[in-house]
Symmetry: C2
Subunit: 136 residues, 2 copies
DNA sequence: CGGAATCCGATGCGATACTG
DNA sequence: CAGTATCGCATCGGATTCCG
């Protein structure tokens, strides 16, 4: 691996060294490192609806900066969740769509989203209780 | 909410302001902010096996620092996923166990872990391919 | 239009030292 | 034993500017 490539990939993920993992950890960290960041899930959700262009995504996801949309889509492409198609027109036109694996991930993630919706209130209650008990 | 409490809670999570969320986002960010960090899942997995004491957890989770174990368990307690029981003995003895909600979360997370195991290799392949194509 | 490059503040996390 | 307090580095992500 060249120094150039190291520089390229290090922008995308620090997971080159997964480090020692117990037994249950292996693999899930890579996925959680993606899903855990601020925008990946939202991009996944939007692309689940269909093919989208760059600015379409940005308009559909309020608050995401140009930079983070670039970074997020690029990471998703790298890991094989999203496919990028660039048409060499002027002005340029780029389409993003989920791969089968990306769709599979989105399905699984939506199970987590369902769980979140179910327990959202319970978490809030627990949190308020804790906060109330731990303020002097 | 007092300034004191704000200080306390701000150590645990920056999610006081979830910010504007589209429609699909609501709730899941709170959960992913937990699951996404380096140690939460590992602690969850270990506690899934049964009641554990502080040092038991630390020995069972290689690489976790005392500080991160404290922070992680405290966050899990705050959100109602883990219950903490302290016995005022000398030396002190503290037990951690999953709540029903915590067990439910661990179950859901393990679905994601299963997914990860299934696609782990495919991700690695996609990543290598991408890296190979994007190095000069 | 769809980025890339740079700067910078906020947060995450490890290491270390101290405590009831 | 089970923490707390402080430091310092690394990464994340927002804002801005430049480019083909």
């Amino acid at each position: 691996m060249s120094a150039t490539n190291t520089a390229v990939t290090s922008q995308l993920s620090g997971s080159a060294s997964t480090g020692p993992c117990g037994d249950d950890d292996c693999g899930i960290r890579d996925v959680l490192d993606r899903l855990g960041d601020r925008w990946t899930v939202l991009v996944l959700v939007e692309l689940y609806k269909g093919v989208r262009r760059f600015n379409q995504l940005q308009r559909a996801i309020p608050g995401i900066s140009q930079r983070m949309l670039t970074v997020t889509t690029k990471r998703l492409c790298r890991d094989g969740f999203v496919e990028r198609t660039a048409y060499p027109t002027i002005p340029p036109q780029v389409e993003y769509r989920l791969t089968d694996m990306g769709r599979s991930l989105a399905d699984t993630a939506s199970a987590l989203a369902d769980w979140s919706r179910t327990y959202k209130d319970a978490i809030a209650v627990a949190r308020d209780r804790w906060d109330a008990e731990h303020m002097q």
